[in-house]
């Protein structure tokens, strides 16, 4: 047999590895062909590697070739191996070839490459760790390992694309990479040039089309129902029977909250919102809401928790805004600080303290850190060429200068960017620069201004790397945070200017710098410390206590460099035993309908408007958390909000907990408000174990701060509950024999206990709904505020429940439609229905040809319009014409008329 390979064809890796693994290469002839040579006579498109068998048959599928080698050695494949190979072909390959194309042909890097394969990598990692086996299909290596390893090797051999947190994938990959046949195959194909060795082949390939609709999806992956062992069931039953007595005493409320030796002390911060912007939904989910869920969860675990945030108030933007509104910067901050605080209060964010950065403590701590950096030699002085206004007697920050754009000649270009051509400008390049502050006509002078720089190079960089090396492994830093931090380090750290020519900021305590303040990115992150200092004078017990404090910082990904690099460098350089971030939790971006949130265009929902929609805060919280951009961007959509509310909340959760005729309602209706006796059957015990398993899953996810995924566990338990009631039909049994009545009692009792458990699990997500359920069930106080890892009977027989009423309201289409219109963005889709003309003619070949030409012509028109991103309605009209022409063509060609979809085309 003869194997056809081509320089740099990725498929050669698994094939050569399989050949080496399965048999000697004695009878295997290898021929090298060009990437565009057609080896297989019946295939239109070129394909390598290809194996020509002695019978003359061709194997043109990489997996099939590998399989053939294994089969020749007598190794058959089981179901699990087949499943991996099918997954490799349908899921992994499309993602992987896109990633390799971006990397090798288009020269993209980082997240642009990793983004398309992350989901697939995570899937492998989860499968490996779930089944706890070293190989994909069990204890021994199989064909699946070779095929997947070979596919992944070109990408993963660069450690930057093998995410550290996927530890199971990591060790599987290492194990295979050190095997002799794999090593040999890797050397032959990559020739020690790394992934670039694939270039000669990949650049001849068409660009892989990105899998449609996968980039932005709000649907998490399905989980399968686990199989339960007898032990698991027995343990779940034992825990359940212990009931309330297994709850520990409630932690007494402390004020202020301070770290306690020997306890788990959790310090949580969410990125400080900039004071003069009203936050939109994306800001809210990115920081405060995500951090709030974790803080509430942390308290449910009885961990000693402090959650803080505040407004970031210094900087140019505040100063400009103050001038616009004719107020002082302080007045602007006071005004907007209240707006922020109100919005977060409405969203029920459980801050222990919500402070601000314009306080004496901020000055004190920032200056202290600065002094320490200065005395240790980490601060450099350097001159910067800058514009100076004699009239105002100050150097002008970029934003304070206006002039003529050097690129397009626009008259009112700003000092940092031109609004017309969008190019970034250095203020000194502006023609006829003008001072924005005094608007005086006197010319500006170029002058040298002395600035301070934090020297991130040298020692600090080394210390940072050392610290990251200690911190990252085993921590819960999100993949994007790890990636951004790593790529900053890889590009090398440069000295960073930490001063600005402004008045509104923390003063620089150094002679000659009286007119300058610290640049916000040096002192904004110090805000967390000063806000704590304003909360308690013992703030150092939180912030200079790395051994005892676990610091979780929440933010959107654009904020990662300040928290992952800049602040840690300052803190390490200050040598004052600061608490550094243990878990940096960064979200991706949330889009609005099909685009971005935009304050200026009035597109999107902003924090203060959410209150006016008539939709309760908990529904907002639920939906935002359901679509939390965890791992990938997601999109807010009004229609989706309506669907999720009406399906998940109303029909699933609400239906189970207490709408008629479910758990809570049964207790009132059939058992006089008292929880009935429960006699568990084996089926009930299995349900207990399933709920326990899901609860433990919830804990595992939230401990890793996978907030969105954990919400699904709640909904899964509720679905189990609904099914349980549906199958057991207590409303029928209650009218039956004594045994039937007892069964109805057990089912009702167990269901109402699941409702109680759900109320606690729901607490971090929907605090008001949770409290309402708990009040309705009269759940005893310790059970309300503690969540153990086992499902307990917290409502024993005889417990009296309160009045039960519905929890959720249906959202109606017209209500949502009017909200959608009010907040702009995606328009309602009203496409005119094309008039259907039935023509019954028999067409000759000329007519068919003419119609075909028309279709081609019209098709080109539509494609061009789409490429030019033309107006939607215009495109739609042309598409209608095209469809009509196609229909005429079909009739002319004598094709069967289109039947209604789903009938004929089954």
């Amino acid at each position: 047999m003869r194997l056809f390979v081509s320089e740099g064809a990725p498929g050669c890796l698994p094939v050569l590895a399989a050949a080496g693994r399965a048999r000697g290469r004695a009878e295997l002839l290898i021929s090298t062909v060009g990437p565009e040579d057609c080896v297989v006579p019946f295939l239109t498109r070129p394909k390598v590697p290809v194996l020509q068998l002695d019978s003359g048959n061709y194997l043109f599928s990489t997996s099939a070739i590998c399989r053939y080698f294994f089969l020749l050695s007598g190794w058959e494949q089981d179901d699990l191996t087949n499943q991996w190979l099918e997954w490799e072909a349908t899921e992994l390959q499309p993602a992987l070839s896109a990633a390799l194309y971006y990397l090798v042909v288009q020269g993209k890097k980082g997240e642009d490459v990793l983004g398309s394969v992350r989901r697939a990598l995570t899937h492998i990692d989860h499968s490996l760790s779930r089944q706890n086996c070293p190989f994909l299909a069990g204890e021994t290596e199989s064909l699946a390992d070779i095929v997947l390893w070979g596919a992944l090797y070109p990408l993963l051999q660069d450690p930057a694309y093998l995410p550290e947190e996927l530890s199971a994938l990591h060790s599987w990959f290492q194990t295979l990479s050190t095997q002799e046949p794999c090593q040999r195959a890797a050397e032959t194909v990559l020739k020690q040039q790394g992934v670039l060795a694939l270039q000669p082949y990949l650049q001849k390939q068409p660009q892989p089309s990105p899998a449609e609709g996968r980039a932005v999806t709000n649907e998490p992956e399905e989980e399968e129902l686990a199989t339960l062992s007898e032990e698991e069931i027995a343990m779940a039953v034992t825990a359940w029977e212990k009931g309330l007595e297994s709850l520990p005493p409630l932690r007494p409320q402390q004020n202020p909250v301070l770290p306690v030796t020997g306890e788990r002390n959790v310090l949580i911060t969410s990125a400080l919102p900039y004071v003069n912007n009203v936050p939109h939904l994306g800001n809210i989910i990115g920081c405060v809401l995500s951090a709030d869920v974790f803080a509430r969860y942390s308290r449910l675990r009885q961990w000693n928790t402090l959650y803080l945030c505040g407004t970031d108030e210094y900087g140019t933007a505040t100063e400009t805004k103050a001038m616009e509104e004719g107020l002082t910067p302080q007045e602007i901050c006071d005004k907007y600080h209240i707006i922020h605080a109100d919005i977060y209060r409405w969203f029920n964010i459980s801050f222990d303290t919500f402070g601000r950065t314009t306080t004496p403590q901020q000055t004190k701590i920032t200056q202290d850190i600065f002094q320490r950096l200065l005395t240790r030699g980490f601060v450099l002085q350097d001159t910067v060429e800058q514009l100076r206004c004699e009239h105002c007697a100050r150097f002008l920050a970029d934003r304070f200068v206006e002039g003529v754009c050097p690129f397009c000649g626009y008259e009112e270009a700003r000092g940092d960017q031109c609004d017309k051509c969008g190019k970034l400008i250095n203020a000194v390049e502006l023609k006829r620069p003008q001072c924005n502050l005094c608007l005086s006509v006197c010319p500006l002078y170029l002058s040298f201004s002395l600035h301070l720089f934090l020297n991130l190079l040298s020692q600090l960089e080394k210390r940072l790397e050392e610290w990251l090396g200690r911190t990252l492994p085993g921590s819960d830093w999100t993949p994007n945070a790890r990636f951004i931090t790593r790529s900053w380090l890889r590009d090398g750290l440069k000295p960073r200017c930490i001063t600005r020519d402004l008045k509104w900021g923390t003063p620089v305590p150094l002679e000659g710098f009286e007119d300058k303040v610290f640049y916000v990115w040096f002192d904004a992150t110090i805000g967390y410390l000063s806000i704590t200092a304003n909360y308690t004078d013992q703030w150092e017990r939180w912030w200079k206590n790395p051994e005892q404090v676990d610091l979780y910082q929440f933010m959107a990904k654009d904020n990662v460099p300040f928290h992952g690099i800049v602040f840690p460098c300052s803190a390490l350089g200050a040598e004052d035993n600061y608490t550094l971030v243990s878990h940096l939790i960064a979200t991706e971006y949330l889009n609005y309908e099909d685009g971005k949130f935009s304050k200026s265009r009035g597109v999107g929902v902003f924090g203060d408007m959410a209150q006016d929609t008539g939709i309760p805060a908990d529904i907002w919280r639920f939906y935002l958390l359901y679509i939390r951009p965890e791992g990938q961007d997601s999109a807010f959509s009004w229609t989706d909000l309506l669907l999720k509310n009406n399906s998940e909340l109303l029909n699933n959760l609400g239906n189970f907990i207490n709408s008629q005729p479910r758990a809570g309602m049964f207790v009132s209706k059939f058992f006089g408000g008292y929880v009935p006796e429960m006699v568990l059957t084996p089926d009930d015990q299995r349900l207990l174990a399933h709920v326990t398993l899901e609860l433990q899953h919830y804990h595992q996810l939230l401990e890793k701060v996978r907030i969105r995924d954990a919400l699904r566990s709640i909904l899964t338990i509720s679905r189990h509950g609904n099914q349980y009631i549906q199958v057991n039909e207590p409303w029928k049994r209650i009218k039956g024999s004594e045994a039937d009545r007892q069964r109805a009692g057990t089912v009702t009792g167990l269901a109402v206990n699941i409702a109680a458990l759900l109320s606690v699990m729901l607490q971090p997500y929907m605090p008001t709904v949770s409290a309402t359920i708990q009040a309705q069930l009269q759940l005893p106080p310790p059970a309300c505020s503690i969540l153990l890892t086992n499902f307990l009977c917290t409502l024993p027989a005889g417990h009296q429940i309160g009045t039960v009423s519905p929890l959720f309201q249906k959202l109606e289409n017209d209500q949502i439609e009017s909200l959608r219109q009010r907040f702009g963005g995606g328009q309602a889709k009203t496409s005119p229905k094309p008039a259907v003309i039935e023509t019954v003619t028999t067409a000759g070949p000329q007519q068919i040809q003419a119609l075909m030409d028309e279709v081609t012509k019209q098709g080109n028109i539509v494609r061009e319009l789409k490429a030019q991103k033309a107006d939607k309605n215009h495109v739609a009209a042309e598409v209608v014409k095209l469809l009509d022409l196609k229909k005429q063509l079909a009739v002319a060609e004598g094709k069967p008329p289109e039947a209604p979809k789903g009938k004929k085309k089954k």
Partner: protein
């Protein structure tokens, strides 16, 4: 045709009496089978091969190493090429390739009927019913193979029977 419906067809054609229930996963509605003892199976061809073994008809997966590899190759082709691409141009390239491949073959493996024939038949059905008379003529070998499989006992079931007769306008004159 939804994957679950297709697998039910396959069950019947294999003579498996007890019908399985399938759930669907994700956007592409990949079928999932919950087996009695053991983990679930995901994916059309994975489940199909499992059903064949369950029915003790292993010969449908091929008898020699070569045949087995070829069967799997066409099963992969089914889920990646036929299901993956549905633009008209792609389908025509695909039919052209298949037509040329089938020129000297009765079945996909040559002389033996296998699971590959069944699943390619199910997968192509929706495209073949829409072909014009001229196109059916053009992909003559595909038409011959397709017509043969649809008459294979127990395969077609309720799917519509595609007509391949040539009318008098198209005699074998050339």
């Amino acid at each position: 045709m939804a994957a679950a419906a297709e697998l039910s067809l396959l069950e019947k054609s294999l003579g498996l009496s007890k019908g399985n229930k399938y759930s669907a996963q994700g956007e592409r509605q990949i079928p999932v089978l919950q087996t009695n003892n053991g983990p679930s199976l995901t994916g059309l061809t994975t489940i199909a091969a499992h059903l064949v073994k369950q029915a003790n008809k292993e010969y449908l997966l091929g008898s020699t190493a070569e045949e087995k590899a070829i069967v799997q190759q066409w099963l992969e082709y089914r889920v990646t090429q036929i299901d993956g691409h549905s633009s008209k141009k792609d389908i025509h390239t695909l039919l052209k390739d298949l037509n040329s491949y089938l020129e000297d073959k009765v079945y996909l493996t040559g002389y033996n009927f296998t699971l590959a024939d069944i699943l390619l038949y199910y997968g192509l059905h929706r495209f073949i019913v829409d072909l014009t008379v001229q196109e059916k003529e053009k992909y003559l070998n595909v038409s011959r193979w397709f017509c043969h499989i649809q008459h294979y006992p127990g395969i077609r079931q309720h799917l519509s029977s595609v007509v391949f007769i040539k009318n008098r306008l198209y005699t074998n004159s050339h």
